[in-house]
Symmetry: C2
Subunit: 219 residues, 2 copies
């Protein structure tokens, strides 16, 4: 699985050969990075605080000082994914025409999914950490979703009367972008006998279609 | 992971307690079922012919009589998923108005994804078996995709001049349905502060939007 630009901990806390026992704040950070490594190498199902402790060369109890459970550590890993994702979405163009902003947002969504497949899958393709509510994670996820909701408020209006229209189109556009990210990376694509242009232009064509839909009367 | 209605082998070839050594045609079938069990229990990455042989109580070499490699067995498992999926899509309503048929196709797509998450993920969420071409698998996958392509030919026309329009909308609709299936099952959905109606009606709203898009002028 590709290593990606997940925010790195200090190298001194991670190097397996020269690593000293991490100090408390370093350990908190090193756990996040080690968890991310476990997820990249063997999948999120295999994540455990015990395995994280072993990788860091600390006692089995040490990670519990910072994370009450494996789920809390996973929530922190995911929170950072959502933060990084939201920051990427926030680099979109913000022109006066909301439809232009929407297109730029869609393009940012797709470039993130393509550049960060591990983080993307973790955010949108794996079960939510249970059983607590993890408010920091929810806040980060909601912030990312609010990028879309915010542009759609510019399209439809921000009042209570427009709420359902905004949310219906948020579901529609999120679905389409999420699915497009999956379809573009699908092993199936080269096997369907599609015209080369259909494959090459799929992303732009789908963004065109989304734009046309928003301009059409609501069904 | 839920057990689902994957076409079952004869029980006599599978029962761990009373199982006799499978005969050749039974073994071919039993390998598929055992592979499917491995995938359900520990994930597709863990699939190996050695593990399949161990589960069936046959020699390590026995599965090779029917499957030259792990990839060929995986291709056969996936081929059956696509066959089952295509058969499910083929139960759609086929009314005179192509837009009505398209909606029914979308609904069938979503009910399959919801009822068969394991098969769905295997078809659309995991790498294609390599390195051979697996023509039977490609044929089964193409047959499923042709259900969508066929309805869109009724919408746009079946000529060479309409090919790109048909394929662009096939990409758009597949993306939207694939993404919607993912969004509806996403752990994130309950945490986004959406109106209860927005969540309950998401599928119908998105299908409405797709319908409106197809009726709108092409962007």
């Amino acid at each position: 699985m590709p290593r990606s630009s997940f925010p790195a901990a200090k190298p001194s806390a991670l190097s397996p050969t020269t690593r000293p026992t991490p100090s408390a704040p370093d350990l908190r950070e090193a756990c996040v990075q080690a968890a991310r490594d476990v997820i990249a190498e063997v999948g999120v199902e295999a994540l455990s605080l015990r395995d994280v402790a072993r990788r860091l060369g600390v006692s089995h109890q040490a990670p519990y000082r910072h994370y009450p459970s494996r789920e809390h550590l996973l929530a922190e890993v995911m929170r950072r994914c959502f933060e990084q994702f939201a920051a990427h979405l926030d680099t979109r163009d913000q022109p006066e025409a909301p439809m232009d902003e929407l297109r730029s947002l869609g393009e940012r969504y797709l470039t993130y999914a393509q550049a960060h497949p591990l983080e993307y899958r973790l955010m949108f393709g794996t079960p939510w950490p249970g059983p607590a509510e993890h408010p920091h994670l929810i806040r980060a996820a909601t912030h990312a979703f609010d990028a879309l909701r915010g542009v759609l408020k510019r399209v439809h209006g921000a009042g209570a009367a427009q709420r359902l229209a905004v949310e219906a189109d948020a579901m529609f556009i999120w679905s389409t972008m999420h699915g497009l990210a999956g379809v573009l990376s699908s092993s199936l694509m080269p096997h369907l006998g599609l015209h080369a242009n259909s494959r090459k232009q799929a992303a732009q064509q789908v963004l065109n279609r989304v734009g046309a839909t928003l301009a059409a009367p609501r069904g």
